[in-house]
Symmetry: D2
């Protein structure tokens, strides 16, 4: 079994390789290819990957390459974790929206649109190469904005599933709070990527008892603190929002915070430099502690389980993924991409029925889905007007003067990544 | 034919009576009852109503009363144009939201919610009395927020249609710009009350040629100026938004304007005082010029045509009204209330098919429909949490801190009108 | 010795009377007159005042009256603690500025200007009656805005000193933190009323060792928490600002907080109702605990000491008061009123030299002094233009559009108190 | 007479050279040196300078050099018009403050502070070299922020005068409106550089009749439109503010505008590229029309007259310049630098008495002077705390959270120009 990781030079990669090592029974990979145009990153990351597998006695070979077509030859599954434009583009996504008084973030709002515009064409090109190399290969997209990127892939007929670690993170956290095993916790996880609510927390599976009311009663304060939202809000909502909802529910507060300090991208860039130095140390053969602060917790568990299920080697059957809506949320178009629990088999990911979503959340989901539709149009076909329309449609923008200012800035700061600009 | 006007002491009433006089062939009213708890207004308004009809040689009698049950005995149609709490409540709707940085307006946003909470219980009580008096009588609601009030009435099984003068106003304006008769202009008017777009302007009827592109090309500047939106925005949208959309597309600009001057309610109150003085003049037997500045232009035409069609006396068959969605906008629940062209007959208003709405507008419509659902819940069942939920769901609020502050203020300023507070 | 308290029906009064009882040696009052137009308050407050003095064995008589001229006949000193317009006016001061995005507060910013406009003419009329009754009587003004009111009094030649409890409160707090007696703590307290900084904290007197650096090093966190400002700011400033500086240093943060909850005036009004109920209880003969939450701590100590020193019966010689600048702050006009330590004797309050104020604070003091000059002009001579000028000059306004909006609202909400409006 | 222009490669230079040609009688320059590190600009600008002089038959030689010491050898006067960091730094000055909701401008607010920090050390180094070369040479500073830079120069004992073209521009405009010769118009021009008001417009000289009331009555609309401020504001103020006051009086409006479009620096950079192309054309021997749009109108007149007066060759005696306050504005420190009319002679610039400034303006002037003091401290001694203090003191910042965020951004964006960062 051959697995290729596009963006394999990412500092995340040791997290993934650690998972492959720990979960080798679930996913018997024999060949791991790390593909990345950034050769200077491939070497330290590839070296550490080999040492982690060796230490675990894992037999897989690790190859590094900047030749994408070589990487995906005869591949069985491809993980996408690339970042077009790197941390520099991320830093820009986090700053210029602030000039207009809007949250600067690389997956939500205007910054998220910029990332979508940079990413979709690149991902579609990669997917086309994968399909040419092996039409049966699965593509797992971890590259943000996962919802829009997955929709782009599915619209082009690719065998793709979108993956995010928000759900698995909450599952682990809730399991710890409830003092049960993670696999005993089933989440009624409903919405769009980075716009989800846990509307139920069931013990034992989709039909298990809903312990969310108890969880909120006993641990609401802890959960709220993690989300940096007031407990009173969780009590009012009666559900647990994704922490990305803070950009909506507390937009102005977040902007005020962002104004008082430099961007987060600078922090991450510094951390990445330190990680790459560590990786280059030939004595290191485990993922370093510091990596946990990088974000992406449990990504490896989620990814290994998903690929295992897609390739028919078992793995957890029900997983939270990004898939076609197909009636799951009846108020959305069938071809929208939603993030919900799904039965994953070699035939693909089939969404499970989910409880009805309150209008309080459904209205926001509808609005963001409309934005995602327009964002994908802009990513595929370009043009200032399409960028403007997507921004005007976004609930965090909504005003023409802001949309004008953001459009100009988005284009000015991403010109090198926009073929039409 | 007996027609009752609830809120008949309104300064609008002479506009309506003038329409009854001019359009007597379409609607052969024999008895007009003006019902209002404000006796001091009933007298001058009723007197002028009688003189207007007399001058026109119209045979109908005009009665004034503060006894609602007497007013609706044997009535054929009831027009609702009441304002619970009067101009004082309106002034409050226009000011306290500003304390939170939100637009202060009595039909949109937090102020609109306040009006809904005050109005729905009163209207449902009136409707119940109408039904007891004559189960076949039609109720035409002109009281804002028309969408929510109409939904409340329909949910309770009343024979009700919601009416607003935005569409007829645009029809007249476009007809003038195009130099054709108003009845030659058919609008593809789509959305919710006070949240609509003209997505097509057809000559001759629903299947006529769409001249909207020409209209925008030749008169876009004039239309934009009326809406107080930049022409560039109209060019980008390619459709004509209702001027209430300015509260969304230019929210912060509107708030900045509102900050530089006192509320509009004060203006209207002053105008009303002047109007009532004029009405009291026994020599006056026409509606005064000043009334045109009061808003509500063409209300009489729209109302007369609608009642005429509902009572089977002819009138224009296709009219823009507020009715059950029933699939007209496929992305909304069937029981939502939409504002679209409908075929109006004694069996009721049947929405015509409308062209698909762009996601750019559909997302906003979905979000506001969700808000309207929650607003109606709050109006019917009360409670701070329901008010909070409706505000959090509103696209012009969306943030919990704002929703908290607005909730407290809404309740504090409307306590006398909220049975549960 | 006869002492009159104008606004004697205030719920503060028992605090003052408690001080008279405790500090009778310092100030041998024989007659205390509580004057107030609000007769319903005078009775419970006067009753409690008598019981407090009786319990302490204090021989003074307590009279209550709504006849000001009677109250001040042969008086030796008059305390002004009235509130023109009562809590209702305060509530308005705290809300309408928020409509313009500005802090709503009754002593600072636009709300403070409103209070100045309401208060200055009333106070000048009272002072004139006091002078007619006894040209040698001293007037101690505790009515806000103390700086502007004192300037108005001094400009008219009255024997007046302005008093505020901010300095004495900090003196007591610092003494507790330093574990010394309050009278051992001398503050280098510099600035304008409600716009001061403690630039030194000296042990033993004006020439004592400055322990402020130690105080900040050891207790900076506690002090910052009381001020609701970050400790990092205090470290940067190296001085302790009055907590009213928070309205400047954290203006937008305060506005955001005010948006999330109803006004504080409502809270105070509720507390006052409860206090008056308690006062009416004939069994109560001490000031209730609840009064401490009302604000005004140590007011009695400060007031008793000040009157004692002015009347020549001893008392602490150096006190922080509001007096003519007269060169104390060299960058301000001589006739400005500043709040600094002063030597108080029967000849009046003579400001002590103070250390030079950093330009960081001096710039703000200059700007607010200019505002106070214009505010007094507006209070004395009226007119929309003068109100506008004062607002435009205020550092928390500064913009013409805000000044326009605030001017209209100030006038609309205070018309009954503005002779010229 | 040898004149050196530091920053001589600026696209402004042909404006200056044109003035030298036209006004050769006033200022008989024999040698003009254009000094600039940017050699690629020196060539086209120098070439055009030679052709302009040649066309006018002016005998002066024009030298270009990147060697500053060579440039200032034996020089009689030095004009400073450099821009440290070029248009790229300016673009940053115009953008990052917007991230914090503050105006982005290179002479006012946080952007102006950044420019001061970049510029002061460079200018002081240049001045030192000038003094070594010729201790009697005059330095005329046109480099912004002129007030702070001039203060830095004077504090170091340099023979320096600060110059700005705002006053001469208004003089010319008013002369045109009044239909008189410019030299007949004397301005009561009072304040700080870029923070001035024309409080009188006198015909014939400092003692002439003040025609400002007439000017405002007859041409207030035109003047207001130029300033982009409402005429009503000018009527209320009764004086004409500099257009930089718009950043204060309409701060939020300016920020809202800036949010809707990209920065102005981009525009200027494009214009500069076009200008340099034009200058390279050997057929061009006049300043091109386009230069007028670049800003800096009448700079040449002002500069020639000032140098002429300083060097004793005549020229207009009274000119508006930046000089030591020395009691001119009594509420400012003597060592502050103010912008007022001054008698200019070879002994230097002696400020004329000016009418008293209203507290409405004086408060703002005091606050900005305090900021300038702190800004200069930060420019000379560096350190994050000094930058923070200057920002906190600035009336357009004033809040600690904004000051924190701006401080971090200022340092991050200017690190290469800040020796201490």
């Amino acid at each position: 079994m051959k697995l290729a990781v596009v963006g394999g030079g990412s500092t995340y990669t040791p997290e993934l390789v650690d998972g492959l090592a720990r979960l080798r029974d679930a996913l018997p990979v024999t060949e791991l290819v790390l593909a990345d145009p950034a050769r200077d990153r491939l070497e330290p990351v590839g070296g550490l990957a080999r040492r982690i597998l060796a230490r675990a006695g894992h037999p897989a070979t690790v190859t590094t390459t900047s030749d994408l077509d070589a990487a995906v030859a005869d591949v069985d599954a491809v993980l996408l974790q690339l970042r077009v434009g790197g941390q520099a583009a991320r830093e820009r996504d986090e700053t210029w929206p602030l000039e207009c008084g809007c949250v600067g973030q690389e997956t939500t709002g205007a910054g998220g649109l910029a990332k979508a515009l940079r990413t979709v064409p690149v991902v579609l090109d990669i997917a086309e190469r994968v399909r040419r190399a092996n039409p049966d290969a699965w593509i797992v997209d971890f590259t943000n904005p996962v919802g829009i990127v997955t929709r782009a892939l599915l619209n082009e007929g690719h065998r793709a599933v979108g993956l995010c670690n928000v759900a698995i993170g909450l599952q682990r956290k809730f399991a710890a709070l409830l003092d049960v095993r993670p696999d005993e916790v089933h989440l009624d996880h409903v919405g769009l990527n980075h716009l989800t609510w846990e509307t139920g927390v069931r013990l034992g599976g989709p039909d298990g008892t809903d312990v969310l009311p108890r969880l909120l009663a006993e641990h609401g304060g802890t959960i709220a603190a993690d989300l940096r939202l007031p407990k009173a809000l969780l009590d009012r909502l009666g559900v647990v929002p994704s922490y990305y909802l803070r950009y909506f529910y507390a937009h102005d507060e977040v902007v005020a915070e962002m104004r008082t300090r430099p961007s987060r991208a600078a922090e991450v860039a510094a951390m990445e430099r330190r990680l790459l130095e560590m990786y280059a140390d030939p004595a290191l053969d485990t993922k370093p502690e510091l990596l946990a602060e990088r974000g992406g917790a449990y990504y490896s568990e989620a990814a290994v389980a998903l690929v295992a299920a897609l390739l028919g080697d078992g793995g957890r059957g029900v997983q939270v993924v990004n898939v076609r809506n197909a009636g799951t949320l009846p108020f959305l178009p069938d071809d929208a991409v939603v993030e919900v629990p799904a039965e994953v088999t070699p035939a693909g990911a089939e969404p499970l029925p989910v409880p009805a979503l309150s209008p309080l959340h459904a209205g926001l989901v509808s609005a963001v889905t409309a934005y995602e539709h327009l964002a994908l149009e802009a990513a595929l076909h370009g043009g200032r007007d399409r960028v403007f329309a997507a921004l005007l449609a976004h609930p965090l923008v909504g005003q023409y003067a802001l949309a004008e200012g953001l459009t100009d800035r988005l284009i000015a700061h991403n010109r090198e990544h926009l073929a039409w600009a």
